[in-house]
């Protein structure tokens, strides 16, 4: 075997394979741009939502504060803090719709009706005693404040778990900040000797912020999404392309023509590996560049770590693709199997939805996938600026699964040579 000739052969095969993608519009879309399609759709839908921006969250308020209630035996209709709450919500750039009643899904003009039709993402019902509870108006006979909780009811659409989580998290953060500020203000209004006592009692609404901002940056949904799309790249560009790479050549007869030339089957495989990796990296660059250009993502760019992690993840994707490509009867069968595998898998790798919101068996399955490990590693490195050592468990997992799956792919490829 002449090394120089073998290198020429490998690159000739890789170049031809690569041209097959870039000169075929359908292949360009499904192999290179399909993950981008998802990124754009989801990015523009949820992308700018997060801790920094709230304007796209449509909130319905049902302000009952000011309704007649009895406090310490006398009628009270104080609506001060309820009104302030709604005003601050608007000032915080939420898109606010005000309703008189929560209602039900069949009563037009109510908050429940609009949730059921997707007009608003979340409804906040402000209770009648909101001002009275937060301003310590409930007292005993001696005038000492009695701890009284004001309960804010939040309603979201259970058929839209992702949108609900985003809206809920945003509202939790907002309410927490609001209560903290206004409680301090209310306590300041109390006689000085009761202020310390009131602080001990203070537990008006038990809502805590959903997530700590560990990166030190203000991140949006899209900032988490873009690193995750590298997992989609492995499925769509790596697994799908590798699945048809050999099967297509075999169906067209070009594989047979290659092996009757003085080219070893391993050289053909090496050419396919090079082209598959080139396609994965090209797709990854397109995704990351699109994230930067379209959404101005705010990420950390540890390029060597990204390149290595993508390579290790690609080994698994190409290994699976090689198994499919070698065992499939023809190109069409390989393509169908690849789609059948990659389409469902993309929902289990944490690219679209956090695995935490899935049922436990789905979480276990998702966590076992090497593509999920890539998503986790990329989120750690690119959003939290974690050092490479911090994602070592993911790297080790991807290396192991990559080597195993690629070895299985090699065995399947060797078996397929007997079917020429």
């Amino acid at each position: 075997m002449k090394p120089k000739r073998t290198i020429h052969q490998v690159f000739a095969i890789a170049k031809t394979d690569f041209l097959g993608i870039v000169r075929n519009k359908t292949a360009i879309f499904f192999t290179l741009l399909f993950p981008l399609f998802f990124l754009i759709i989801i990015g523009f839908t949820f992308g700018t939502q997060g801790t920094g921006e709230t304007s796209r969250i449509r909130v319905g308020t049902v302000n009952l504060d000011g309704n007649k209630i009895y406090v310490n035996g006398t009628v009270s209709q104080d609506s001060t803090i309820g009104n302030v709450f709604v005003q601050v919500l608007k000032d915080a750039n939420f898109t606010v719709y005000e309703y008189g009643v929560y209602g039900d899904k069949d009563s037009n003009g109510t908050a429940a009706y609009d949730i059921s039709r997707g007009q608003i993402k979340i409804a906040v019902v402000i209770p009648a005693n909101f001002t009275e509870a937060l301003s310590y108006q409930y007292t005993d006979s001696s005038g000492i404040p009695i701890p009284t909780k004001a309960r804010l009811d939040l309603y979201t659409d259970p058929s839209d778990p992702t949108g609900s989580i985003i809206a809920q998290q945003s509202m939790f953060g907002f309410i927490s900040e609001f209560i903290k500020n206004y409680q301090e203000f209310a306590i300041d209004q109390l006689p000085e000797d009761l202020q310390d006592y009131a602080r001990v009692l203070a537990d008006p609404i038990t809502i805590s912020p959903s997530e700590a901002d560990v990166s030190g940056r203000q991140l949006r949904w899209i900032d988490y999404m873009v690193p995750s799309t590298l997992g989609l790249v492995l499925l769509w560009s790596g697994l799908n392309h590798a699945s048809v790479a050999i099967a297509t050549e075999r169906t067209k007869g070009t594989f047979q023509r290659m092996v009757i030339a003085p080219v070893s089957p391993i050289t053909v495989l090496a050419g396919k590996l090079v082209s598959s990796l080139a396609i994965v990296y090209l797709s990854a660059v397109i995704m990351l560049a699109s994230g930067l250009l379209l959404f101005q993502v705010n990420l950390y760019w540890n390029i060597p770590a990204i390149v290595l992690a993508v390579f290790l993840g690609a080994l698994s994707a190409i290994g699976i693709g090689l198994i499919i490509s070698s065992l499939s009867k023809n190109e069409e069968a390989a393509n169908s199997i690849a789609v059948l595998i990659s389409v469902p898998l993309q929902f289990f790798i944490g690219a679209f939805f956090p695995l935490d919101i899935m049922p436990e068996p789905a979480q276990i399955f998702g966590e076992a996938l090497p593509f999920t490990k890539l998503v986790n590693a990329m989120q750690g490195i690119m959003t939290k600026n974690l050092p490479f050592e911090a994602v070592m468990p993911e790297i080790i997992y991807m290396t192991t699964s990559g080597l195993i799956l690629f070895a299985l792919g090699l065995i399947a490829y060797q078996l397929s040579l007997k079917r020429l």
Partner: protein
């Protein structure tokens, strides 16, 4: 010195219980154009695949250019130029790009590769406009020509042509025959697999007929036709038929019998001459007719073809085989 470029010794190929090639032996001399004939399923493709090194025989040996294919597969592959039956080219590339790709597989590069591609584009008569278009836009004949050119890039000594004219119209078929004849003149050793009897008869120096995995007849087309000892008919339309003429014809060596027939439809008298060697005796027949002072209006020769030989040997025609499949 080894005069045979291809030597096949007792080759058998089994696929589980099915014996695709059954103890076949044959050889092809350097510069010879050897036709391998047979219906679909006869074992031709399996034999070709073994010769090209794509699959290994179950038993037996194959030597190409003196090298045992099992021991020196890479060396043998360099000596071989294989033209597959199907058009095996990349649709999304043009002719030049396709040839460059296959050339690189054979270790060609740089100026040598470029020059060879230009030579072959000239040889296959593809014009510059066509060369720049993707293969998907080519006619069947153009694709076939590029398909052959791809196998010639590395200047192989031995060529395996598997149904090279399949699916072509008569014009393109004749054009491709010319290319094959040119290769033959260049002293290439050519093994032509075909199920078209006229193609094998027209082009081959020798022919092997395969059926059910075995070679059932081997020889030059003329030898095979003679071997079956079938009768041919020479039909002559002279200006007049006399008993002197019939007597003169009857005396020609090789003529079994001759007689006059009146064709009711054409309203003419014809002379029928029955022989086993129509082509051989035709000049003598013509001379004898002129010698008795008779003019010839037309001569028709119905001769035995390889198709007839095949029917005689197997009891069925190749066309029937195709129709059944």
């Amino acid at each position: 010195m080894n005069l045979n470029d291809v030597e096949v010794n007792s080759i058998t190929k089994r696929f589980e219980d099915n014996v695709a090639v059954d103890n076949v032996s044959m050889s092809v001399a350097r510069g010879e154009l050897f036709g391998l004939l047979g219906p679909n399923g006869a074992g031709k493709s399996t034999l070709t695949k073994m010769l090209s090194g794509m699959i290994n025989p179950t038993s037996g040996t194959i030597k190409v250019g003196g090298y045992n294919i099992q021991d020196n597969s890479m060396k043998v592959k360099e000596l071989l130029g294989v033209v597959p039956q199907d058009i095996v080219l990349y649709d999304y590339m043009n002719a030049r790009e396709n040839l460059a790709f296959f050339g690189r597989l054979y270790g060609l590069s740089g100026g040598k590769l470029r020059n060879r591609i230009e030579e072959l584009l000239k040889f296959t008569q593809l014009d510059e406009k066509a060369v720049k278009r993707h293969i998907s836009t080519y006619s069947g004949g153009m694709k076939r020509r590029v398909n052959i050119a791809a196998a010639l890039l590395h200047e192989p000594q031995v060529m395996l042509l598997d149904e090279p004219t399949a699916g072509l119209d008569p014009g393109n078929r004749l054009a491709l025959w010319e290319i094959i004849r040119t290769l033959h003149k260049e002293e290439k050793t050519i093994m032509l697999t075909t199920h078209m009897m006229d193609e094998a008869e027209e082009l081959s120096d020798r022919v092997a007929i395969m059926d059910e995995g075995k070679i059932i007849a081997l020889g030059s087309p003329r030898q095979l036709i003679r071997k079956v000892k079938m009768e041919n008919t020479i039909t002559v339309v002279p200006d007049k038929i006399t008993s002197k003429l019939i007597e003169a014809v009857q005396k020609i060596s090789g003529v079994k019998r001759s007689y006059r027939v009146y064709d009711e439809n054409e309203k003419i008298e014809t002379l029928k001459i029955i022989t086993e060697r129509a082509e051989d005796i035709l000049p003598n027949v013509v001379s004898a007719i002129f010698a008795v002072g008779t003019r010839i209006i037309s001569v028709e020769l119905s001769r035995v073809t390889l198709e007839d030989v095949f029917i005689l040997l197997t009891g069925r025609s190749l066309r029937e085989e195709e129709e059944q499949l």
